[in-house]
């Protein structure tokens, strides 16, 4: 059976592989090459070695500050989103009535895209700030708080769903056994529930980490870096290098490659560290 299937590789895998080559594989290799070149389109590249990588870190590129701001937003949002999402999931698995209703409501913001989300929150935050005669664009602190609020509002529901699924898989006997042994609610949570839902925690940390780190749309819509590019995250910094300036495409491509490396390293370490905490079910 597999023998006759084997011959049909072109039919089964061909279309996906061609599209994958056009959209991802070839551009990735071309992009890697171009990050060592000076170019304005993909066909006029001249080799410049590590020049772009060195220039990427020059102060005027603001790449360092974008990285710093991105790390700060990511760190704070990963912690807050996961704490709130877990707390809400815990509350919703307490056999209360109407949990489905609440679950539906809390998840809803997740379906709204970054652009719409960004302008929605921009309006709301400005509505508060206008009473103090100031705006979102006037102070980087407001932009930071805005991004944190937006990310929490958007991602809590998604992570909550994953935590609920995890909590529902914890065998009831384990909780019973813990309470028979005289464990308090907190001890049970700390020593039984949390180790049992480590796979959910791994996934949620990974998803919040990578989506905050790669955030673009909402950053563009909420502040677009204002004031003075102080609330600019890495993805926005890279896109603007390509499309708002002339003659620095190579630097943009080098930044994109550094960004890719950072995302991979962070994701790899996070997965390793949390996977180690997982217990056999």
């Amino acid at each position: 059976m597999l023998k006759s299937l084997r011959k049909l590789g072109l039919i089964f895998a061909g279309p996906t592989l061609i599209a994958f080559a056009i959209a991802f594989a070839v551009p990735f290799l071309v992009g890697l090459y171009l990050s060592f070149c000076q170019f304005t389109t993909v066909t006029d590249a001249t080799w410049v070695g590590l020049d772009n990588y060195i220039r990427a870190f020059a102060p005027r590129e603001r790449f360092w500050s974008a990285l710093g701001f991105t790390s700060l937003v990511t760190a704070v949002s990963v912690v807050t989103v996961n704490l709130f999402a877990f707390a809400i999931a815990y509350l919703l698995t307490r056999k209360l009535r109407g949990t489905n209703f609440f679950r539906t409501i809390f998840f809803m913001p997740n379906l709204i895209g970054g652009i719409v989300l960004g302008y929605t929150w921009q309006t709301i935050i400005n509505a508060f700030l206008v009473q103090y005669q100031t705006t979102l664009a006037s102070n980087a602190k407001y932009g930071f708080i805005g991004l944190i609020l937006l990310l929490n509002w958007q991602m809590i529901g998604y992570m909550m769903i994953i935590y609920i699924a995890g909590l529902q898989n914890v065998p009831g006997e384990l909780i019973e056994a813990a309470s028979i042994d005289g464990a308090s609610k907190w001890q049970t949570l700390r020593n039984v529930t949390i180790p049992m839902i480590m796979p959910s925690i791994t996934i949620c940390l990974f998803l919040t980490l990578s989506s905050s780190f790669k955030l673009y749309d909402a950053n563009l819509a909420l502040t677009n870096g204002a004031p003075m590019r102080k609330t600019e995250m890495v993805a926005l910094n890279i896109v603007d290098t390509f499309f708002l300036r002339v003659g620095v495409e190579g630097v943009g491509q080098a930044k994109a490659m550094i960004f890719f490396l950072l995302v991979s390293v962070v994701a790899f370490f996070q997965l390793r560290v949390t996977r180690r905490q997982e217990v056999e079910q």
């Binding site: 059976m1 006759s4 299937l5 089964f12 895998a13 996906t16 599209a19 994958f20 056009i22 959209a23 991802f24 594989a25 551009p27 992009g31 171009l34 993909v42 919703l92 307490r94 209360l96 409501i105 998840f107 913001p109 379906l111 895209g113 970054g114 719409v116 302008y119 929605t120 309006t123 709301i124 509505a127 206008v130 509002w153 769903i161 994953i162 699924a165 009831g172 006997e173 384990l174 019973e176 056994a177 309470s179 028979i180 020593n191 039984v192 796979p199 959910s200 996934i203 998803l207 749309d217 819509a221 993805a235 896109v239 930044k255 994109a256 490659m257 960004f259 890719f260 995302v263 991979s264």
Partner: protein, 303 residues
């Protein structure tokens, strides 16, 4: 480990002991009231922003900034003025049409082709299928910006700067996650079923379409939902490939362009367009929320 010792004890304990995990006592306890209070407050936090936008979309544009929290009544109320002026600048329904075409087309293409690919590379054990699988997994981590510039130039050279071309690009970008999710499921299907079909005279294509794909249906729904949420809301790819000089703007592109050129002047029209952008999502969600929530949970477990 403590968990394991607890587990051993659990199996030795008679199951008749009543659990206190769910506070399942009758009557209304103080704890229950507190829990509901928290949930209701959270509901207000989650619905509030949407209500705020909806409310302001019916107010005169100057009142939105001068008294943003006032209800749209009396002098503040302007009926559908904001909607008509917003529609006039954005050509919103056109954008909505293209959003529908591109999303439905891309998701259909993604589900159809990546399921077949996942089936093939999981069933055929060869070095190249293994390498292909690993490259798909790798592609999930790579940020879009790393391939952005070459992708849009190559797409342009190949004449993909149109809605059909967008479907090809989305198939390429969506392949990683979708193949990964499908593969995980294909592995769990026993080979015997396909062998039985072969003995009954089915070729590989017939076996796949009549036997395998129907079994993949629950995963196909998960893949479809995750991709719909992504493609519908995606901004950068459609903006760069078809948003600049063609009539094929999608909703996020139309909203961003309006804000860039016009939003500062007419907050009212902006609010109205945000409401129109959110409505299709909420309607879609209300009709399929069971599948969406199950799909998200299932997709995460696979991931």
């Amino acid at each position: 480990m403590s968990t394991q010792s607890l587990a051993t004890q659990a199996s030795a304990t008679p199951a008749a002991v009543k659990s206190d995990a769910g506070q399942s006592g009758s009557g209304i306890s103080a704890l229950k009231i507190m829990n509901y209070t928290i949930l209701v407050l959270l509901t207000l936090v989650f619905v509030g922003p949407l209500f705020f936008i909806l409310m302001n979309s019916f107010k005169g544009r100057f009142f939105i900034s001068s008294s943003p929290f006032a209800l749209p009544i009396g002098d503040y109320f302007v009926g559908l003025t904001n909607y008509t002026s917003g529609l006039a600048v954005t050509n919103f329904f056109n954008a909505m049409g293209w959003s529908f075409v591109i999303t439905i087309g891309s998701v259909t293409v993604i589900v159809f082709f990546t399921a077949m690919t996942a089936y093939y590379i999981t069933r055929i054990k060869a070095r190249w299928t293994n390498v292909v699988y690993l490259i798909f997994v790798f592609s999930m981590i790579v940020p879009f910006q790393a391939v952005m510039f070459p992708t849009i130039k190559i797409a342009d050279m190949l004449g993909l700067s149109n809605p059909a071309g967008m479907m090809v690009l989305y198939l390429g970008f969506g392949a990683g996650l979708s193949v990964f999710i499908f593969s995980g499921f294909v592995k769990s299907i026993p080979l015997e079923i396909e062998e039985a079909a072969t003995i009954d005279g089915c070729g590989p294509l017939k076996t796949y379409f009549y036997i395998v794909f129907p079994m993949l249906k629950p995963v196909a729904i998960t893949v479809a939902i995750l991709n719909t949420m992504w493609v519908w809301n995606d901004y950068l790819l459609p903006y760069l490939v078809i948003g600049l000089s063609t009539p094929y703007k999608t909703i996020p592109v139309a909203i961003q362009m309006m804000a860039g050129s016009y939003g500062d002047n007419d907050m009212g029209a902006m609010m109205a367009m945000l409401v129109l952008a959110i409505i299709p999502i909420v309607v879609f969600y209300l009709f399929s929320q069971k599948y969406i929530i199950e799909g998200v949970a299932a997709g995460a477990v696979k991931g």
